[in-house]
């Protein structure tokens, strides 16, 4: 635990990894199967991708457990495998990060349950809390270094996840990030949560890092980071997409280049952002470019 929080207290700037979904598809994720299928059936592929991100210079490597709650796995008939999936995903990244003192940290991903909570939908906050608690317990036991709650839209669901993580993995730091969209009045999640509400709600629930991931590219992420760093009392993390997906013939591409992404990194660091990584569509090359930008900025600072 101290590894991460100590570094943040020292003022270190950290680099996250990039996308997993696109990497898994390139390596034969069967159509119709969720990304977590790979952790279950071919953990060696997880290890291979994790190794690419370690080599690219990531300080944290995310596990393939975004949809690892019972709610999400049930959609694919994989609920019975939930323990194995979450455990194998952590262990595979662990093998790639190695055991050196300064090794990359295993950042255990926890994504939304996919349910609408009461009163908007039919799922109780207690039910999602239980699902998160169960997943986090497995992730922690398997050796995760931190819990990474991400792509959240509903603040109640996000804070339930943070609390569940603090209860079931009391020794691990928790990073919690939500996904914001531009609105005439500022940036809000789909469920109408402002950046300021997210920051204070997540920190009050016990998150050690708060921030934003996914979304529509670096340009907006810089603006979101401005609001995040203005209001947050805890370190801020941002992990943007490589822009919005575009169609080229029968394939889909993310067009924001590693260079374009890295060019905005100094602004983020000037604002005080503690961790910069990538979300959908980013690659080891994006991480390499961000790493270079962060190192260059730190050398100047």
């Amino acid at each position: 635990m101290e590894a991460l929080l100590d570094r943040l207290r020292r003022g270190d700037r950290l680099v996250g990894d990039g996308a997993w979904g696109t990497q898994l598809m390139q390596r034969g994720l069967p159509e119709g199967q969720p990304p977590e299928w790979m952790a279950l059936e071919r953990p060696e592929v997880i290890e291979e991708i994790a190794r690419l991100y370690v080599e690219a210079g990531a300080d944290l490597v995310t596990t393939d457990t975004f949809g690892g709650t019972s709610f999400r796995l049930a959609l694919h008939g994989l609920e019975a495998e939930k323990e194995r999936i979450n455990r194998q995903a952590v262990e595979a990244v662990r093998r790639a990060t190695g055991s050196a003192e300064d090794r990359a940290l295993v950042s255990a991903s926890v994504g939304p349950s996919g349910r609408l909570l009461e009163p908007y939908g039919d799922t109780s906050p207690e039910a999602v809390h239980e699902a998160f608690a169960e997943q986090v317990a497995t992730l922690a036991e398997a050796g995760a270094d931190l819990i990474c709650i991400e792509t959240m839209s509903d603040l109640t669901e996000a804070t339930q996840a943070v609390r569940a993580a603090k209860e079931r993995a009391p020794g691990l730091p928790v990073m919690a990030t939500m996904t914001f969209e531009p609105n005439p009045r500022g940036y809000y999640t789909v469920m109408g949560v402002s950046v300021e509400q997210a920051v204070s709600g997540l920190a009050d629930a016990g998150a050690d890092l708060v921030g934003s991931n996914c979304g529509i590219g670096m340009e907006h992420m810089v603006a979101i980071a401005r609001e995040l760093t203005r209001t947050a009392r805890v370190p801020v993390a941002v992990q943007p997409n490589a822009g919005l997906p575009e169609i080229q013939g029968d394939t889909v591409v993310y067009k924001e280049t590693p260079e374009a992404m890295a060019a905005r990194v100094p602004e983020l660091l000037d604002l005080g952002v503690a961790l910069v990584g990538g979300c959908c569509g980013t690659t080891p090359d994006h991480v390499r470019a961000v790493r270079r930008a962060v190192d260059a900025w730190c050398a100047r600072a």
């Binding site: 119709g32 959609l75 009163p119 908007y120 009045r185 469920m191 109408g192 919005l244 575009e246 889909v252």
Partner: protein, 212 residues
């Protein structure tokens, strides 16, 4: 205040018990169920949809308004049938084969129902033939398809092609949506329209089916 106006206002506030009670009261007063639907529930929902489209309100407000709409519809339904008032049209919805993301599609369904459409929800991982078969069987006039994955979105073209090859073009309209999609993509695969979110979907479906 006019009771139909009160129904519209309560619906906008998401006050479902009050919408139900007011709908029953309106019927007791002898107001035709069709008027309660059109000038109360749908009038209120139109305001909510427009506010959402202009991003003045957020999804939770729309979900609560839709819930209030259902409460009112429950009261009206037997009377609407008696009066012979048709609902606004029937649509078939689903997430395309290979894709299991159904949150966006569910929201579109909630909002279409909220706007008075009859919605046949085929769920997720729906094969192209299943979309067209269901639309024919249910005599639906529109197929709505959703995809969140960039790997599955390209399959929507098969549904559009099937509608055409079975000679159903014009009779069954198609509309697509989902995070990675764009109007250009819809045009490229030959879909009749594209909607970026639930409120826009309601507007576009109304336009495609020629209802107000």
């Amino acid at each position: 205040m006019d009771i139909l106006k009160q129904i519209a206002d309560s619906l906008q506030k998401g006050d479902d018990p009050r919408v139900g009670a007011l709908a029953a009261e309106a019927l007791e007063k002898g107001i035709p169920a069709g008027d309660v639907l059109q000038d109360g529930l749908i009038a209120g929902m139109n305001v909510v949809g427009e506010q959402f489209r202009l991003r003045e309100i957020f999804l939770p407000d729309v979900l609560l308004a839709a819930r209030a709409m259902y409460a009112g519809l429950e009261i009206l339904r037997p009377h609407l049938a008696k009066e012979g008032v048709p609902l606004r049209g029937k649509v078939v919805l689903g997430t395309i084969k290979g894709d299991l993301h159904d949150i966006g599609k569910n929201l579109v369904g909630i909002m279409l129902k909220g706007a008075g459409f009859e919605v046949i929800d085929l769920g997720h991982d729906v094969a192209p033939e299943a979309f067209v078969d269901a639309a024919v069987r249910e005599e639906a006039s529109l197929i709505g398809m959703s995809a969140l994955l960039t790997t599955t979105m390209t399959r929507m073209r098969e549904v559009v092609d099937l509608v055409e090859s079975r000679g159903l073009s014009g009779q069954i309209k198609t509309i697509v949506g989902g995070a990675p999609l764009s109007p250009d993509f819809a045009r490229e695969i030959g879909a009749d329209d594209y909607a970026s979110d639930g409120a826009t979907a309601v507007e576009r479906v109304k336009a495609l089916l020629g209802v107000t």
